[in-house]
Every structure is written in structure tokens, then in C-alpha cells.
Symmetry: C2
């Protein structure tokens, strides 16, 4: 059977036709142009699904369902987008609108949750029924899978682990909480931490490397070259990341954490120390089994693939 | 049908005969005397269940099952007590031993998880299928109910929310983590916070009240008398408590938090401000529904009542 998965972002909309085994038969990316408003976005979205079906070599009628991920607060049971500041949508009856326009089953969900589901069904979470997915991007996205199913909590905002507080006297976050995990482990936070280190050590190799611009990669690059200052930044960052992961393990004890987003592209130099610290902690407290930590494998496709999985 | 619920503690063993509606037909408390060793404790435990059945007016044969809560790491699926430092048990096949000795179905679980289940089935969590239970005692116990069922994670250690870190640069805890929530919100932590305030303000009403001894109640008593210093201690404590509750809401978004243990006996003066701060936060971020915060209602019986519910 074939399913359409759609990942609506503030800038781009990604979509694909996916089969039950996670094979992507056709896919496309195009500009959201959110200023067009909801109706225009919706009609083009359905048109583009039609086109993808053609490209995949079957009729739209044969499509079994449409799943959509939205970057906001979604009541997934009702298919309602409660609020989505990126798109300026509020109380939008998205799933029903799609159903009415296409005659197809439609489910809608928070985008980070879709990505979590995508990784669990088709990506590096394939071997796990219980996992926590965290994307280390500009902000933090997260999703929780329990017994093979997306766990959303009552608010369906997506498991917002990025707003778990890890510093009770910390800076106030836009969400109103203090010392949110996001403020320590997002790519933007890592850039800030790198900047602070450069100001303190302007003669370091790290400062040299960052002359033409600082990114979330800079500290990792300089650390690999043996720079002590950069190594300090990376170690501290890994400490912050592991700290939240240990907190989540004490609450949820999943089989695995899947790390996605830009910073996770650092691969083993990020993932292995996190895994070691986490499992040393579990060892110390005797509440086995150990927990795996792995990098996400679907990249930008995780969102629409997981959205498709919503209707499988 | 009738079930035996047993709550094994380091000092006392509480047990009761409970029916499907949570009516306690007979109950008893006696000393654990853990130095007797596992076999002696087990045999007396079964004898006492026999006696309680008699007291309740039926034969042991009519008992439908035995549930047991243990203060340690329990593999509840296997019925194994992995480790229990209070009783010095390690790798004890408790559920099978009880089955073999009695011919009754037996389930074993972490004690805090049993108490959570007790409150959810028969106590103040009765109206909720999704809740987080936290006991504010000498230490912190916690349990998570999702869709009416106990959620244990893979390690079955009990949802150890007390070891969620809330201060990334905080003091090292016995568990190896830093700045654990427990170190801020246990009754012992509240006593420490009260002591620190007294040292700083030896002329306060709080200091006066504490002359004959400090307890988790002292600050609440002085605050009710209008003492500013005590009010500061209470407000800060409530802030710590709410901080972790907001973190848990961002991850789990349950319908309710149930607060038990000594400090929760303060009732409305503790619970109402927590509830307000939590729901102001939810309001601010628009991820409704609101979350209830209520006091536990079963007291010391929650553990054995929940243990009985394991086999219902």
C-alpha cells in the first residue's frame, strides 16, 4: 500500500510517497510561502501529492492515506492544529479539511513527533520499541515512542524535552521556564558556548578557526585538531547533553536515544562519550538494561516518512 | 474477589486483604526484622496473609492472588528483586517463591510504583488514567501511570523522577548524578533549607519555632503565622517542586500530579500554589489541557493497596 507523508515547515514543505516498508517512491521539496495563507497552501499540497502519485506510477485513488507533520501544537486525536506560530495558523481543522478535499484518511501530528516515528519505523530506531528521539538543531525537537507507538501526552505538543529545566536558577526561556535544556544543547547554544570560549581565549586554535564565522561544528573541528580550549567546549556540551539524557532515563528508561539534527552529524565523537557516561550511570545504580545512543539515519526525510507512518 | 497486598519496607511490613473495589477487609503492620533473612521473612509473610484471610472471614484458598511491593529495583515482568539495599536482597526470585509456596498468582513491583497504582485505582487519582505520583518523604518516590497502567521503563526501578537533574552544576548525589530533584524537594532537603534560613536569621519567628527541633513542618507553621523568613523558605521549596513538575509536564503531560508523603500533608498551602504556577505555564504556552495537582488520599495504605491491584 502507498501513503503520502508531508512535513510542513516554516520555510519548506517536504513530502513523499512511502510504502509499508519505508521505501520512498517519489518525493519533493518546495517553498511554503506561508504568506499565501492556509487555503492556498492546502490546495497546492494536495496537487503536489497528486503529482507525486503519478511520478510513483499509480493513481491518486490508490493512495491509502495522508499523514501531515506541523511545527506546532497539534491535537492529533482531533486532527486540529491548535497553534503554529511559524505558519500563523490557529485552530485549523487540517485533518478534516484534507479528508473532505481528497476523500482519504488523514492524520496530523507535531513535526518532531513525526520525525521520531519515522526514525523508529524506518531509521536507526528500527530495532527499538521504546525510544526517545532528540534533534540537536537551531532549537530542540523531541519525540517519545513507547511500545512502538508515539507517546504525546495530553497536550500533543510533542514531547517537549527541550523545555525540561536543568538549571533551577537559570536564564528565563521564551516558554516562561528557567534553565531549559534547549538553552544548553541546541546548535545555537553550542555557538554561544563557542563564542564565550573564544572571547576568553582569543589566541586559541578555536579562535583562529572561527575567524570566518562560528558554527556548531567549529568546536568539534578544533577539538579534533587537539585544541584544549575547543575540547573544553565540546566536553561541557556533551556533559549538558548527557545530563538531560540521564534525567530522561530516570523517568522513562527507554531502550535507546536517537540523536538527530546538525550537531548529531559529528557522529562518534559526540555519541560515544554520551553513551559511555549514560551507561556508567546505569551501571553505578544497577537499573539495567543498558541504553543505546545512536545517530538518526533518515536526515530530512524522517519527518515526512514518519507522517506517512501515522496513517499506515 | 479478594487479593492480598503487601508493602515490604526496611522497618515495617504492611499488608491488607483488598477486594476489587478497593475495600480493605483486614490489614496489619509488623516489624520486618530484616536480619532474620529472606526465608524467615517470606514464611511469616505467608502466615500473616493466612491470618488476615481468616480475619476477613474467608479461606486462604479463596484468595485470588498476592501482590508485593519492594523498596528496590525489581524486574516486575520476571518477578525478580534485582537489588534492595534496605533488605540486603539481591537477585531474589520473590514472585516464583511465593507462587511455589502458596499456589497463588504473585506479582512483585517497586514500592513507589505500587503506591502510585494504589492512588490511581482507589485514591485521589481515581478520576485519572494518566498521572504522575510523587511522595515528598525522607527521600522521593515516584510512579507514572499511562493509560491506566503502571509505566516502569525497561529497568523497572520505578520511575525515578527524584533523580531527574534540575541543577546541572549542583551537588553530587549518591546516584552519581548532580543536582537531583530529590536534593531539593525531599523532607530532608526542606529541613536543610529551613536550617540554612535559621542560621541566616537567628531572630526570626522561624528560628524561635525550631528551638526544640526542626522538621519539614516548621517552615510551613511559621509561614502561616506570617513570618517572612519562613515564607521565603516555603516559596523557594514550592518553586523547586514546581520546577520539576513543569519538567515532567513537558515530557509526559499527564492529567494530574498526585503528591504524597509527609510534606504533602501541608495540603492547600502547598498544593494550590504549585497548581497555579504549573497551569500558568501551560496557559503561557498554549498546550492545554490544564493539569490537576492533588494530595494523595490513601496515606500508608497506598503501597499495599496498589500491590493488591497488581494481581487484580
Amino acid at each position: 500500500m502507498y501513503y503520502a507523508g508531508v512535513d510542513i515547515g516554516g520555510k519548506n514543505i517536504k513530502m513523499g510517497i512511502v510504502d509499508d516498508f519505508g521505501k520512498v517512491l517519489a518525493s519533493t521539496v518546495y517553498k511554503t510561502q506561508m504568506e499565501r495563507g492556509y487555503d492556498a497552501i492546502l490546495l497546492e499540497l494536495i496537487n503536489n501529492i497528486n503529482t507525486l502519485c503519478e511520478q510513483a506510477g499509480f493513481e491518486f485513488d490508490e493512495l491509502s492515506g495522508i499523514g501531515i507533520g506541523v511545527p506546532g501544537i497539534v491535537n492529533s486525536r482531533a486532527g486540529l492544529v491548535m497553534s503554529c506560530s511559524n505558519l500563523q495558523w490557529k485552530g485549523v481543522d487540517l485533518a478534516n479539511d484534507v479528508k473532505n478535499l481528497t476523500g482519504k484518511p488523514c492524520k496530523v501530528c507535531n513535526d518532531a513527533n513525526c520525525a521520531a516515528l519515522g526514525e523508529q519505523r524506518f531509521g536507526s530506531g528500527k530495532n527499538y520499541k521504546n525510544l526517545v528521539f532528540v534533534t540537536l538543531g537551531t532549537g530542540i525537537g523531541s519525540g517519545i515512542i513507547i511500545d512502538g507507538k508515539l507517546f504525546e501526552g495530553l497536550g500533543c505538543a510533542g514531547a517537549e524535552a527541550g523545555h525540561m529545566g536543568i538549571q533551577v536558577e537559570g536564564d528565563v526561556c521564551a516558554c516562561g521556564n528557567k534553565g531549559c535544556w534547549e538553552e544548553f544543547i541546541s546548535a545555537s547554544a553550542l555557538v554561544k558556548q563557542t563564542k564565550a570560549a573564544i572571547e576568553k581565549y582569543p589566541d586559541s586554535r578555536l579562535a583562529q578557526i572561527c575567524k570566518d564565522g562560528i558554527s556548531g561544528k567549529s568546536a568539534f573541528i578544533a577539538a579534533r585538531e587537539g585544541d584544549g580550549v575547543a575540547k573544553g567546549v565540546v566536553d561541557r556540551y556533551i556533559g549538558y547533553l548527557t545530563y538531560g539524557i540521564i534525567g530522561l532515563t530516570n523517568i522513562l528508561h527507554p531502550q535507546a536515544f536517537i540523536l538527530g539534527g546538525g550537531v548529531a552529524n559529528e557522529g562518534a565523537s559526540l555519541i560515544l562519550p554520551v553513551k559511555k557516561m549514560l551507561n556508567d550511570y546505569i551501571d553505578n545504580n544497577g537499573f539495567y538494561p543498558y541504553v543505546d545512543v545512536v545517530g538518526a539515519s533518515l536526515g530530512d526525510s524522517a519527518g515526512y516518512m514518519g507522517a506517512a507512518a501515522l496513517v499506515m
